[in-house]
Every structure is written in structure tokens, then in C-alpha cells.
Symmetry: C2
Subunit: 218 residues, 2 copies
């Protein structure tokens, strides 16, 4: 058991890290990883640069923690949703990735929406930076791998009849559709969501060789 | 008809623009849009900054031309391939987007591979930059729209039985899979390409309600 002062020290460290991460997210979103320096992150988080370095060794460590948190959020969403492929088809057709609504919809609170917008921008920033910065490439690859394996392990429980090889291909195909949908989020051509949902619905049924409960999602 | 000196003047302008674009692609790939300035592009293309401005009004104009050329390349690939959904399923399962092989394959010439790597990195850079720069957002959206409409118009010729609304959903679903596959190109988990190809194959057959010739692709 931890002594009370240890608890409060851990809580303080954790709060400081949260404060820095929140500031860094805003700075990276505004100027990209290259444009945002430690000085700007310090200023935005109302700490000194020296204080920042007590919590994160460098900018890559901050990026790593941001990606880690985004992946955790995605894993929570998967484990809350993956059993419901019908809901996933519905969300994809409406371009809802995580809490990320279509920019033209107004059905989640604005704070959630704002954070989801930042997640989306940072995901693209990480992917772009990964093509030229080996440290970020490693962070990105490791996080994608973790996410993939969590999704696969979760879906394997619901569909134990498939071999590991089959399951890997099915999860890859789902991951491609989820990430392609997120990538295309700001495109201007909009397919009719119901027609698109029916296509995904049929594909997922075929993919997992299962009938979904035909109850209306949401 | 153009006079000979007009022809050679046009050819000279065109060659200069190619030279600048090739240099800008390398600079953007290395440092991102923010990190690469006009001075660096000038130096890499062995021209003066003043000369660059005679061909492009600003950095955004260079980005626009780069995106325009990438879209043209993609449209050429579509019009060469879209009739062959079996080939598309094959390429997607092997993560071949355009001339872009899987980084672990060695089946296209190295110059093509290098240009395709740059295309991939620039596509991510454009998408990331589009989230914070309205000028690039417009370039990206317009190019995606053009590409979408070209693909749709091309596929509509092969499958005239579908309504406009149905076709839009089918093309969106294809676009999601193509761009999701490109996005996931550097991920480390690899599904077995044959198993994945079979999944896409069945989906595309269902999508266009058609049987593909079962001849082996390539």
C-alpha cells in the first residue's frame, strides 16, 4: 500500500503530465510536430521548459504518450463495440470513427467533438511524420500493432470458429475500412449513408459468416 | 498552329516547371511542407528563388501542382485498371497502390518505387496539412472529388445497371478500401495476401453483382 504522501505525489505527477499533453495536442494540431517547439508547449501549458523536461525527455516522448493515449481510447471503443458489427457498419457509413462525427453532424457535445478533431489531425500528422522520422515511425507501427492485436483478440472471442490466419485477414480488412473512412472524413462527396451501411452490413455478415440481430442500431 | 519559337518556349516552360516540381517533391518529402521553404526548393532545383516565382506564385501553388499530377497519375491507373476488379482485389491484398508495392517487395524498378514512396509520403503530408491550412484543404478536397468522379464515371460505363446513388456508395466503399490500404502501408502486421484477396474478391463480386473471369491475374 502506498503512503498518502506518495499517492498525492503520483496524482500531482499525473496531473502535470495531463496538463503538458493537453497543451502539446493543441500546439501540434496548430503547427504540426515540426512547427511546435518545446518552448511553445511550455508556454501553452503555463509551465517552464525546464519543468516540461522533468516529465518528458524530449518531443518524441510527448508524441509517444499522445499516440499511446489515442490507442487506449480506440481500444476502449473496440472492446465496447466490436461485438456489434451492425453498429460498426452504421458508424462507418455515417463516418463516425470513435467519437468523431461527420463534421456536418451535431450529435456529440462540442468538447468531445473538439478532442476528436484533434485526434484525427494528430493521427494524420503521426502517419506523415512516420514516413521521415524513424522514432515516430516506430511509435506509429507499435501502436498500430497493439491496436490490431487487441481488436483481433477481442473478435476472436466472439468468433472462435476462424483460424488465426483467417482472423488476421478479417481484422486487416476491418482496419482498412475503419482507417480509410477516417482518412476520407473531410472529402466532399457523400454517399447516402443508408445505402453505404447496407453494403458494409452485407460485407461484415459475409466476413464473419453471421447474421446480425436486425434491431435498429442506437 | 503555333510558331516554332512558341513551341520551344512552351517546352522550356514545361521543363522548368517539371524541374521545380521534382525538387519540391524531394524537399517536402524530407522536411514536410512547413520545413521546406522556397529557398531550399530553389537550391535543390538549381534555380534562383526569383526564377521559381516566375513559374509558381507561392508554395501553395507548387503543392497544388504536385497534387494535380498525383491525381492525374491515379486517374490513369484507374482508367487502365478499373474494369478489372479482380486485379484491384489482388493489388489491394498485396498492398500495391498505384505503382506502390509493399515496401518488402522488389518487383518494380527502383526509380518507380522511389517516386511511389514520395507520392505516399506527400499524400499523408497533404492530408495532415489540410486539417490546418484552408488552402491545402481546398486543394485536397478538390482533388479527391475529381478522382472520385472520374472513378465513378469510369465504373458506370462498365456497370450501367446501377443508379447514381448506388454507384456513389459503391465507389465510396472502393475508395475507402484503397485509401485505407495505402494508409496502412507501413503497418507491421501482415495478413496472408491470398486470404485477404479472397475476401476482397468476394466483396467486389457482391458489390457489382458480377462474376469475374477466374483467370489468374498478372
Amino acid at each position: 500500500m502506498l503512503a498518502p504522501q506518495q499517492c498525492s505525489k503520483d496524482a500531482r505527477i499525473s496531473a502535470r503530465r495531463d496538463q503538458i499533453i493537453a497543451a502539446a495536442r493543441l500546439c501540434f494540431r496548430k503547427h504540426g510536430f515540426h512547427g511546435a517547439g518545446m518552448a511553445e508547449i511550455a508556454k501553452t501549458s503555463q509551465l517552464s521548459v525546464g519543468q516540461i523536461y522533468r516529465y518528458f525527455a524530449n518531443k518524441d516522448a510527448i508524441i509517444e504518450e499522445i499516440v499511446r493515449r489515442m490507442v487506449m481510447k480506440k481500444i476502449q471503443l473496440i472492446t465496447g463495440n466490436a461485438h456489434n458489427l451492425q453498429q460498426i457498419a452504421h458508424n462507418l457509413a455515417h463516418r463516425r470513427i470513435g467519437n468523431l462525427s461527420s463534421p456536418f453532424k451535431e450529435d456529440v457535445c462540442s468538447e468531445q467533438k473538439e478532442q476528436a478533431e484533434i485526434d484525427h489531425a494528430l493521427m494524420l500528422e503521426v502517419a506523415a511524420e512516420a514516413t521521415r522520422n524513424p522514432a515516430v515511425e516506430k511509435i506509429w507501427r507499435d501502436s498500430e500493432k497493439q491496436l490490431f492485436n487487441e481488436a483481433k483478440s477481442f473478435l476472436s472471442k466472439s468468433f472462435p470458429q476462424f483460424s488465426d490466419e483467417e482472423m488476421t485477414a478479417k481484422v486487416e480488412s476491418l482496419a482498412v475500412i475503419c482507417e480509410g473512412t477516417a482518412f476520407r472524413r473531410l472529402t466532399t462527396v457523400h454517399a447516402d449513408a443508408e445505402v453505404l451501411e447496407a453494403l458494409y452490413h452485407r460485407y461484415f455478415q459475409d466476413l464473419f459468416n453471421t447474421d446480425f440481430t436486425p434491431s435498429k442500431p442506437e
